[in-house]
Amino acid sequence: MSDSSWQALQEIFEKACELEAEERDGFLNVECNQDSALRNKVESLLAADSCERDVVSQIVGDAGRRAELEQQELDLEVARGLTGTSIGPYQLKELLGTGGMGAVYSAIRDDESYQKEVAIKVVREGRLSPASHSRFLLERQALAELDHPYIARLLDGGTSSQGKPYLVMEKVEGEPLDIWCDNNKLTVRQRLKLFKKIAEAVHDAHRKLIVHRDLKPANILVTADGTPKLLDFGVAKILDPAQEAVTRTERLLTPEYASPEQLSGSLVTTATDVYSLGVLLFELLTGRRPFQPSTTASHDLVRMVCNENPPAPSSCVPEGAEKSRGLSAERLKRVLAGDLDNMVMMALRVEPSRRYASAEQFAADVGRYLDGLPVIARKVTLRYRLAKFVNRNKVGVGSGVSVVLLLLVSVVVLNKLLEREQEHLAQSRLMSFSMLDMLRMDQNFGRDPRKQADLRLLLDRLTLAVDRLEETDPHTAADFLKQLGDSYSAIGLSPMEIYRRRLGILRNLDGIPENVIATALHDAGGVQDAYEMRLTFLQAPHIDLARSLTALADLAGEEARNDDSRELSNRANEMLDLLDPDNETLRARFVLATQASGIWHSLGDNPGALLWMDKALRAARMIVPVDHVLIGKAQNQRGWLLQDEQRFAEAEAALLESRQALDSALAPGHPEGAKLRHDLALLYKDTGRFAEAERLLLESEAILQAAYPDQHAPGSTEFSLARLRADEGRYAEAEIFA
């Protein structure tokens, strides 16, 4: 096929995809214009496109599974080859299984009286890497310290004559937990009792600072008399109490039972086992695991586990699960709904700190449930879910955040409205429409600043909706206006008009607390009046008074009352120093310090501006993570202040951190990244690093071109490039003449 016919094929296919099936025929008649070969090709593509079955995905998926099997066969061959041989004083009798690190055999001692059968785990590789070797030794030490009736004992361990490390363990005759429960048709209560024992055993290990890390049914055997035995602390590691109570490891585990922090390579703690216990209980209750990615499609367990809340156990009882639990499917669902759902989901929360605090607490909650007492697990609240949503949808600053914010607002308002009367249904509907719009727009937000215009339209539309609301429900209208104003300001538009309207509404209502009025007044630009009002009912030091002083300092700065401006900034700062450094105070300090840095700079006091910026950065570091946009912006400003001070090395460090933060916090192609690169380029130019400077300027230019394809006149960047080249020329000349 020639390039041009491939091109034609592609174009016609893409257009045809847009059409309804019945329109395609006519379209193809025109487009293919008697070229029957082309037409056949397009038609076969369209047929393949509409086919549900994804052959490519199936082929790759099957190939992957075959490769897995093949590797298993190879491993087994090797492992089986060792049966009958001796390792240390033990003779390997039968291969019991293969796992992450190696194979497990049943064995007996060759030499003396101890004739009892034991289980021996032999590490696969003959030669261990230092990391694996120390892990193996740790495992030995960890297990030796564990003595619990529900945990398989470590009896011995050593290194074979070929240098293979091995562990000798109590041999447990039993069935894996899930199979045992189903075979014995355990009821939900019986399963819970068994689970409670397991959770208590896990807690006992935690008290000795041992985290299992790989809890799953295959690692928990149940003996004939119903005693659970936890096996294979294969990846357990002693948490060193002298260091932090947590540790990071290379992963060696089973993804289906792994916690989000394990899958994302974050810190592993006892909370990790709490999570795995949650998966275990989920499976014991329902017969399936919380996340079941389809095997061949794009679904990805890692992402699901790390980003999504699991479904409630009661919502996913698979067919047949009820039979082995002695209940009808309906009845099983009803038993699970409520407390059991909440308990499992509490253990499965993405953030370790929001799960049960310990395996013991989990076990105790199961105990309370069994005793008919209230449990501590609660349903996840709407507020929490929305907060999660915000975190997940980290898009550009300004624009993106405000979309999410708006969504929050709409949902909150919607709920409020629905709680009240039916007559508000029209508004509710309008809100939900807007919500959908916004979600759709959110997709590409940070990438395309032009979308801000669309967002503005939406905000305007919502503002109109408030008109009607204002008559029927002024309280809600006032709440809504506050959020709208914040959103306008987040995309860089003046919220003043909105805030003034809100103030008007509040003033006409009875019973609004004066601090609310004062804040509304402050927001609406009545900074001085709000300050005076606040002085009547607030005692200094107070965060609102500090905010007032900050705003007054800004106002004074704008009116060129420079001494006032500096004095007010200092007073605000002193007041903030007297307050507890909580989040709000730190945020207020960040705002003040950034603003003051600008004021000092505009008055020509560069070192003073820099001191303020250092303060702002310190505040930011305490309230946001390292890759947050606030850090990026603070370091950007510090960077060029430092550059003005000729402190080039520090300037570079600041700008590089800024780039790191902005690049990870913002959507790709965000103009803020262009600005930063431009600043960095100027620094490199000033220090004679022309090649790097040029590369950054070109990057910056490319970002701006992509962001504003229609409007971006090659202006400042181009100009900087020209200057750069001129400078470079002089520099080179200077060298020649030197």
């Binding site: 992957g64 099997l69 093949e70 298993q72 491993d75 993804p255 390579g265």
Partner: protein, 196 residues
């Protein structure tokens, strides 16, 4: 792995991300050998689909090979893209080895793991897919790369977009056409065989 080579790999990745073909060529062997080492262990575990295993595998390699303190999500997309190529090669190696020893009839007697679902395709189809993918590469290299990243690397469209430096919309269109084309090529072969 020593810290020096960690640094080195991270830098190579950066350069590869900036479009330096030499850095790419230098990086590929390290990624490949690391993945092969890990594939030997991880692919052999537990019942689950390839995409899942591949993603977990790549993620492991990513954590191990690359200095996490100094990389961005952009580096990550480039790394994953490279890993997709490696996984394609690994699977092809497996398929070819399998063809070679077809008659030896190795059986797995010990139930160390189950297969989630019975394969519905036959082993040679991976080789056919590879051939078709190579043809696609001649017409349209970018689409072939997108397919590789999607199906062998388990990457999401937005990650592919970053790696290929195109919009997410373009990736979506590329994949739709590529998938339809590959599917029609592969089923054409099936039809052709059954005719004769």
């Amino acid at each position: 792995m020593a810290d020096a080579s960690l640094q080195q790999i991270t830098q190579l990745l950066r350069r590869a991300g900036d479009g330096d073909p030499d850095a790419y060529a230098e990086l590929l062997p390290s990624v490949f050998s690391e993945l092969r080492l890990r594939a030997a262990r991880s692919l052999a575990r537990e019942r689950s689909g390839h995409t899942l295993q591949a993603t977990a595998l790549v993620h492991d390699a990513w954590l191990k090979l690359v200095d996490q303190r100094s990389v961005t999500w952009k580096d990550r997309s480039h790394f994953y893209a490279m890993a997709a190529t490696c996984i394609r090669r690994l699977l092809l190696d497996h398929a070819r080895r399998r063809q070679a020893k077809k008659r030896r009839g190795l059986r797995c007697a010990f139930p160390a793991g189950e297969i989630a679902s019975e394969p519905t395709t036959n082993p040679d189809e991976l080789l056919d897919l590879d051939q078709a993918l190579r043809r696609l590469e001649e017409y349209d290299a970018r689409k072939a790369r997108a397919v590789e990243m999607r199906y062998f690397g388990g990457m999401e469209n937005r990650e592919i977009a970053v790696a290929l430096d195109v919009s997410v919309g373009t990736v979506g269109r590329d994949l739709r056409l590529a998938r339809a084309w590959l599917q029609s090529e592969l089923t054409k072969d099936e039809r052709g065989e059954s005719d004769t």
